[in-house]
Amino acid sequence: MGTSSHGHDHDHDHQVVPSDPALRVKALESLLTEKGLVDPKALDALIDKYERQVGPRNGARVVARAWVDPSYKQRLFEDATAAIGELGYGGAQGEHMVVVENTPQVHNLVVCTLCSCYPWSVLGLPPVWYKSAPYRSRAVIDPRGVLREFGLQLPDETEIRVWDSTAEIRYLVLPERPAGSESLDETELAALVTRDSMVGVATVAMPARGAGA
C-alpha cells in the first residue's frame, strides 16, 4: 500500500485539476487569456498598482495632513471620502471612508470578522495577519489581548472601540500625534506613521534618539 502513488489520500484521487494553487492559477489565466476573457497585461497593471503604487504611504499622508491642518482634520471627520480625495486617494475599496480618531481616552481598532474588508486606497492590500482567523476571531471579543500581542498595553481606563467592517464602509484610524513631534513638518510626520497605527494595532512613536544626538 505504502509504495503506491494512490491510496495515501483518497481526497485527491479524483481531483482532475492540479492541487497546487500556483499551477491552478497559471492554467486558469491561460484559459481565460485564450478565450479572450482577460488581458494578461491588465493583470500586470493591477499587480503593479498594488505592489508599487498604492500602500500605507497614502494613509500616512492623510494622517500627517490632519495633524498639521485643523481644518483638514475637521473635513476628514465630516466627509472622509472627500477629504482623502483632496490628496488624490480614492476609488476601489475606499469609496466610502470613515476616519476614527484616537485620543488619550479612546483607542480605535479595525477588523473585518466576516472576510477581509480593508481600506485599499489608503493602506494598500491587507497583511496576512489582518485576514487571518486569529485576528478576525479575537479582535472583537478580546481586543486588549490582541493589542498586547502586538506589544500595545493600554490602560484599563482607555475606552476601546472596535470597528467590524461588515458593510462597504472602510475605516481608517487617525492615530495620536506623538509627543515631542512639534518641530517636525508634514513630510517628516508622515514618515513616522505606520500601517499598523492606522489599523489601530499600534501607536505612532518618535524614533529613538541615538546616543549623543
Binding site: A27, E34, G36, L37, A42, L46, P127, V128, K131, F150
Partner: protein, 219 residues
Amino acid sequence: MNGVHDMGGMHGLGPVQYERNEPVFHAPWEGRAFALNLAAAAWRKWSLDALRHQIELIPAADYLRMSYYEKWLTAVTERLVQSGLVTRAEVESGQPARGSSKATPPLTAAQVPAMLRSGALASRNVSVQPNFHAGQRVRARNINPVGHTRLPRYARGKLGIVDRDHGVYVFPDAIAHSADENPQHLYSVRFTARELWGDHASPRDSVNLDLWDDYLEPA
C-alpha cells in the same frame, strides 16, 4: 449562512502571527490570483457579495486550511463556471472548448487606472425611508439565513444604539443571490462589549457594526 467564516468571538484559532516587512504578495501566483479576480469581475457577471458568498461556501475544513488567495482562486473559478463564462470541462482541461468563440476582454491595461480610481459605489442615490435614527436603541434580529448575510452571529439578538445613519446602500443578502439590490439605510450600530460578551468584558469597550434596516428591530 452560519459558516466558519463568521468567526468573530471564536476561541481556539491561535495567536496572531505577525510578519515583519511583509511583501504584498508572497509568491507571483498570489498576485495573478488577485488580479484575475478583479479582471474577471469586470465582466460584471457577479457582485462582490456573490464572490464573498462563494468563499463562504468553501467547506469549513478547507476554508481554515487554505491560504487567502487560494480561497480567492477557488471562488473566482466557481463564479466563472456558474456564470457561463467558462465550462467546468474547460477549467479541468485548461483548454477552450473546440470551436468556442474568442471574446474581447472588458478590462485592458490602459483601463486599469481609471477602473481603480472610480471604484464601485455601494451607496444608492434613491429615496428610502429610514426605519431608525441616530441615538435610537435597536436590537439586531435573530436571523439565521442559509444564504449570504453580513449580520455576524455574535451580534444577533443583542441590543445596540444607532451611532450614525450612513445613508442608503445595496443590501448584501439580496445582491449576493440576485440582481435585486433592495437598497436600504445602513447604520453604524454600537454594542457595548458587556452586551456582546457578558460581565467579564471591559465596561468601557464597545464594538461598532455596520447594519442594514432589515437586520434591526426597535428595542
